[in-house]
């Protein structure tokens, strides 16, 4: 977690104590993009990410009174966002209308897919490889690779030991490299 974010977290928690609405507004403005991208990388489709993001903040609002300063606001928010994303993924698995297993095909060949993807061919392959990971490995990989979260913070978000997370990330990287190199 970067120093600037630690300072912002401190400002948010101070403001929440003084004025709940103003504190929450600052929280949304600070975290909406970060949490959106975290969710989006897991659920892939924008509409799903939008739903999960809004549900995340509604849940944050509902339980903001239960938030205790001894836990980090940053990890607490990532926990809620991850749970929302996983709930949506499970819902999609049960009654999926659009299969997004083959992201390469979806983003490269469908008009809708190309509207929401701006990466090159290597990035498309990477996203396709990430999609093939089990959910937990996918989360660990994304949090480490894109969000640059420490294992200690990740352990708080996922409730898993740091050792298990390190092993999970190592396996995820091996699988991804195997997929993208075509070995």
């Amino acid at each position: 977690m970067k120093l600037t974010l630690i300072r912002k977290d401190s400002n948010i928690t101070d403001l929440l104590k003084q004025d709940l609405n103003k504190g929450f507004r600052l929280l949304v403005e600070t975290y909406s993009q970060k949490l959106y991208w975290h969710i989006r990388r897991l659920v892939v489709l924008h509409e799903d990410a939008d739903d999960a993001l809004q549900n995340t903040f509604i849940n944050v609002w509902k339980s903001i009174g239960n938030f205790r300063n001894e836990s980090s606001l940053y990890t607490w928010l990532y926990t809620i966002a991850t749970n929302e994303a996983l709930a949506l993924i499970n819902k999609r698995k049960k009654n999926t209308a659009v299969s997004i297993d083959d992201l390469g095909n979806y983003f490269a060949n469908s008009q809708e897919g190309s509207t929401w993807f701006d990466g090159d061919e290597a990035q498309l392959k990477l996203q396709n490889a990430i999609m093939q990971l089990p959910d937990k490995q996918k989360i660990v990989f994304n949090l480490k690779y894109y969000d640059e979260m420490t294992y200690e913070e990740m352990s708080k978000v996922l409730g898993t030991s740091e050792g298990a997370l390190k092993a999970s990330y190592h396996h995820a990287v091996k699988k991804i490299e195997k997929i993208i190199t075509g070995d």
């Binding site: 709940l20 609405n21 929450f24 507004r25 949304v28 403005e29 909406s32 993009q33 959106y36 991208w37 989006r40 990388r41 892939v44 924008h46 939008d50 993001l53 809004q54 903040f57 509604i58 609002w61 509207t115 929401w116 993807f117 701006d118 990466g119 090159d120 290597a122 990035q123 498309l124 392959k125 990477l126 996203q127 690779y145 894109y146 990287v173 991804i176 490299e177 993208i180 190199t181 075509g182």
Partner: protein, 140 residues
């Protein structure tokens, strides 16, 4: 093919223009509305005790009034009882009159022979015939 470290970490996904401004506004407005409803509930909660006390008093007053209306005699009831009282008084007066009438009759002796009837029977007969007590009195 490139290895993982060679691939750009730049976010490859896109969002609609001004998405974050709009979603922030939407989230804040939704929670502000929710807060408003919570505040309304809070106002109710704050005054709940006073409202319950006021409602209890109002309920007690209504029940008491209804009970009085049902159980207590109203004006027509009062008139009836008054009438009954007056009727009883009349009866009392009549009783007194009849008693004094009987006393007066005790000293009366029939001058002519007639059927074997008592004085009391005569008086009762006369009264059944709606003859005024005063008239009977005068005859005695």
């Amino acid at each position: 093919m490139k290895k993982l470290d060679d691939i750009s970490k730049k976010n490859p996904f896109k969002v609609p223009d001004n998405y974050f401004e709009e979603v922030n506004r939407k989230i804040i407005s939704v929670t502000a509305d929710a807060d408003e409803s919570v505040r309304k509930i809070s106002i109710f909660k704050r005054f709940r005790t006073s409202l319950l006390v006021a409602a209890s008093i109002a309920g007690f007053v209504i029940i008491s009034y209804s009970a009085l209306k049902i159980l207590a005699p109203d004006r027509s009831g009062y008139q009836v009882s008054e009438a009954i009282f007056e009727l009883n008084q009349d009866s009392l007066i009549n009783d007194i009159d009849i008693l004094s009438l009987e006393e007066s009759a005790a000293s009366f002796e029939l001058s002519e022979e007639g059927p074997d009837v008592s004085k009391k029977d005569i008086i009762e007969y006369l009264m059944l015939e709606n003859i005024e007590l005063n008239d009977i009195y005068e005859q005695l």
